[in-house]
């Protein structure tokens, strides 16, 4: 995400609210790639992610008059994108769901110091991707926004329209669930 200065971005939003399509296109140039990366975590494939991203921007353009400057433009946009992705995801059959059980597995090894070859990294990446995809959307979104995309807690909570305490609680449960998936993985393959 290209983070423009807040004043510059506010000026673009204001112009877009007055109907300036070029200003909105500039906002699209700044935010489209990161929104696409977020959406891709919620839908089946890159093609669908493109479609959902485009739909989200179209909705944002049509609703730009309702945007209120008390929140940042990209948090508002991400909220639209995630809601749009949820609508698409609801039409698909559910994937294998990761348990939100956060208790550590007692006999699991301590894999925190496990050395990683390049092949291990690729496999671990796959395990993490599947774990995220298996989380219910309400728990997937916090981890995607905060831990993968690197938003601050305040920004990510704003995208999800949650208070910070509620957001942190969901994030923690999601992180523990993903960590537990890795416990299961290392229990099987060894650290």
């Amino acid at each position: 995400m290209r983070r423009a200065g807040p004043e510059q971005e506010a000026a673009l939003v204001e112009r877009a609210q007055e109907g300036d399509r070029a200003a909105f296109e500039e906002l699209a140039r700044r935010h489209a790639d990161r929104l696409y990366a977020v959406v891709l975590r919620f839908v089946a494939d890159p093609e669908q992610a493109q479609e959902v991203t485009q739909e989200a921007f179209l909705r944002a353009w049509r609703g730009i008059g309702r945007f209120q400057a008390r929140s940042r433009f990209f948090t508002w946009l991400y909220r639209i994108g995630i809601n749009e992705a949820k609508r698409h995801a609801a039409r698909r059959p559910p994937v294998e769901v990761v348990s939100l059980d956060d208790e550590p597995i007692p006999e699991a090894p301590d894999w925190s110091e496990a050395p990683e070859t390049r092949a291990d990294q690729a496999e671990l990446r796959g395990v993490l991707e599947r774990a995220i995809r298996g989380l219910p959307i309400e728990y997937r979104a916090p981890i995607v926004l905060r831990d993968v995309e690197g938003l601050s807690t305040r920004e990510a909570a704003e995208v999800m329209d949650l208070g910070e305490a509620a957001f942190k609680s969901r994030l923690h449960r999601a992180r523990l669930a993903v960590r537990r998936t890795l416990d299961e993985y290392f229990l099987e393959v060894g650290p």
Binding site: R21, F24, E25, A28, R29, A32, D33, R34, L35, Y36, A37, L40, Q50, T53, Q54, F57, L58, W61, D102, P104, P106, A108, D110, W111, S112, E113, A114, Q121, L124, R125, L128, E129, I132, I143, D147, V148, E149, G150, T153, K168, L171, H172, R175, L176, V178, R179, L182, D183
Partner: protein, 85 residues
């Protein structure tokens, strides 16, 4: 016997509290008193020590999932916007 039960009760209370605050601890979102509370318990609890260490490693893995920007996306969005009525 009673003393041992009280000590166990305290230990379990700290265990549950610590387990619930490990993310806040990693994110440096606790004040100094609560930070010390986590550190004290993690220092004597092998389970919490392991969960904290593996949670940190999990977060490293999650951060590494961030993908490179996809420059073609904006073009498709703008084209769609221009076609829209």
């Amino acid at each position: 016997m009673i003393r041992r039960l009280i000590a166990h009760h305290r230990y379990m209370r700290e265990h549950r509290w610590t387990h619930a605050h490990l993310s806040d601890y990693i994110d440096e979102g606790l004040d100094s008193g609560h930070t010390a509370r986590v550190q004290d318990h993690v220092g004597i609890c092998p389970d919490c020590h392991r969960v904290l260490a593996t949670l940190r490693r999990t977060l490293e893995g999650l951060r590494a999932l961030r993908t490179e920007p996809s420059p073609g996306v904006a073009g498709g969005v703008i084209e769609r916007l221009r076609k829209a009525p």
